[in-house]
């Protein structure tokens, strides 16, 4: 008997065995309630009230002011015509970022996974090399690359030794986004490679044996067997990567701080800056909450898609 049992035993005596599961669930539910459910409700409240105060009682209610301000644009296609041009730049930057980051990352993940799935020497070693960056923290990733991509950094030294010109990867607005996408792919590719690899290994080997027996070319095997059978897996990877991509913040924050100007500011950067950045003029919690709601709608849509597709996949394969 240990200390906790001295408390739990009388409780069990009083409420009975049948009610014990509620006791076991309770701590978790309290945490979820306090830090997820209540905040979710409060987010509506914040987004529908105005004022600089964080306290409920001191905020004006109800108002759609935040949403009006957020969506006040002459033309939604041109962020410069919006009151909250920073938000809309964030939206467009996020779309651009997600399209290229997710697209390229899935391409390279599949390529890497297919190669790692071959019978090659040192497969375990190569696998961990590609996976390793996933475990690095965003600050570590950001600082390593900020330093390598410096004007007088290693990357430019390599470029110059091949006769190229130095590039300001992180301070030139036309390069910053590309650099940020590159670093983000570098940091997260290993995770998706691993999932695709698991998908590849789930393809029954007898299909390949049959194809080899028939003398089918490798290119044909890839496009006719591997890719079609991998598709359900790729769909889930695609949505998962989009969900993460839309919420990207920390690496970019360390790498460029959203700059130069706003050229690498995404939506979460907007929420963070508007709601919390102490250097900003006024912390506008309401506006940040409203922007969170917009992001939430996008994520909800993506997550529902994910649940739908992974359920489909489950019913087909009966696994995971």
């Amino acid at each position: 008997m240990h200390a906790i049992d001295l408390i739990m035993w009388p409780i069990q005596k009083i409420i009975g065995v049948r009610n014990m599961p509620y006791i076991f669930l309770l701590p978790n539910l309290i945490f979820f309630g306090l830090f997820v459910i209540i905040p979710l409700g409060a987010n509506f409240f914040f987004s529908l009230s105005s004022g600089d105060e964080l306290l409920f009682a001191e905020r004006e209610l109800p108002t759609t002011k935040q949403y009006d301000q957020l969506f006040d644009c002459e033309s939604y296609l041109n962020p410069n015509t919006c009151t909250e041009d920073f938000f809309w730049r964030g939206v467009y930057n996020t779309i651009f970022f997600v399209v290229f980051q997710v697209g390229l990352m899935i391409f390279f993940s599949v390529l890497t996974a297919v190669i790692l799935n071959k019978k090659i020497i040192g497969r375990g070693f190569f696998r961990s090399v590609f996976f390793f960056p996933v475990l690095l923290s965003p600050v570590v990733v950001g600082l390593i690359w900020q330093w390598i991509l410096l004007k007088n950094g290693a990357f430019n030294a390599i470029i110059e030794s091949y006769g190229g010109d130095k590039v300001s990867f992180l301070t030139d607005p036309s390069w910053a986004m590309a650099s940020v996408i590159f670093v983000s792919i570098w940091a997260h590719m290993g995770f998706y490679t691993l999932i695709v690899l698991a998908g590849l290994q789930a393809i029954p080997p007898n299909l390949y044996e049959a194809a080899e027996m028939d003398g089918t070319s490798r290119e044909r095997i890839f496009f006719r067997i591997t890719l079609p059978l991998l598709m359900p897996n790729l769909l889930v990877v695609f949505i998962l990567a989009s969900i993460k991509g839309v919420q990207t913040f920390d690496e970019i924050y360390v790498l460029t701080g959203g700059g130069p100007g706003t050229s690498t500011s995404l939506i979460v950067q907007y929420i963070f800056t508007t709601g919390f950045a102490s250097s900003g003029s006024v912390q506008n919690f309401g506006l940040a909450a409203a922007a969170s709601m917009v992001l939430g709608v996008v994520l909800l849509f993506l997550t529902l898609m994910q649940l739908y597709f992974s359920r489909n996949k489950e019913s087909k394969h009966q696994e995971i």
Binding site: M1, D5, M8, W9, Q12, V17, N19, P21, F24, L25, P27, N28, L29, F31, F32, L34, V36, I38, P39, L40, A42, N43, F46, L54, T112, I115, I120, I121, R127, F131, F132, P133, L135, S137, P138, V139, V140, I144, W145, W147, L194, I195, L197, A198, R218, V236, L240, I243, Q247, F249, D250, V254, V268, I271, F272, G275, S292, L295, L299, I320
Partner: protein
Amino acid sequence: MSETTSRIIKIATKKRYKNKYHWTDYFSYFYLFLGVLLMFGPVVWLGLSSLKTLAGIQEYPPTILPLSQIQVDVEGYDKPLPIFNVTQEDGSVKQLAQIKRIGINAKMVDPLNPGETVKVPIDKREKIREFKIQWQNYVDPLRKYDFLLYFKNSTFITVVATIITLIINSMAAYALSIYEFRGKNFALVFVIGTLLIPLTIILVPVFYVVANFGMINSLWGVILPGAATPTGVFLLRQYMLTLPRELIEAARMDHASEWAIYWRVVLPLSIPAIAVLAIFSIMWRWNDFLWPLIVLSKSEVYTLQIGLNAFHGELTSQWNYVLSMTMVTLLPIAIIFAYLQKFITTGIASTGMK
């Protein structure tokens, strides 16, 4: 190409298809070689450079190994001066120390004869380097700045948060896997529901809740909000569902309390799943950035990640310290990975979480 290397390559690219090499075989090895350079190179490069002197780090084009220019103290000069091999007019080479550079000429002095200075065209001199490991990069920030404190804070958050996460998540998983009770499905849906709500969309109100508890600028404000994780509950529940029910029935026959069944029977049997969750929790917590950035604004409560970022922001030119502390920050995770690599990769592949 020598015979041995070609033989090694032949073995390495052992073909599946009779005697023909397929272009994909060559491509694969080329790709993997590039991959190793690109994925692992930066970290190796970081490790090597963190041992250089500041001057060595700022050198362009950079050297790979921690070589630094030798500096000597010369009488009459406050700072140590860098020394060069200078080719004299008669072709002989002499070691001179540089006082300063003026355009294409350098004002130099012979360390053995500090009285007179000479002007030397800069293309006639060559740096003298030595292999020198700068351990100061690691010692100084821990002594002069607060990195030891940040390290302690990070460790505290990681350990305490992981323990809380393991206990409350395994309790919930136990309830949801062993018992049948009213509202079980509701609880399951509730837990799945929280999966749909990432922190990024409730930043403001979670901050509000944490502020209400007075946990701003407290390590508990970082620990508590993420302690209950839906992925953790599901991972553990999936595992507990596979445990034989007879064990639990037998324990109940022996008049074990429900808590004792959880603590003495189910928990010890679930160690594999708990270990996976523990590793993930440690990684999440150690690497966490956005939430600590919001909650912690005083330097005495900074975690290593926040402290490192702030330090870099304040002292942009101190790359020697930034690089060494980046190494310190990534080392614990790298060590865990080196030992538990299989565990981590199979954990990710089977749960799809990160």
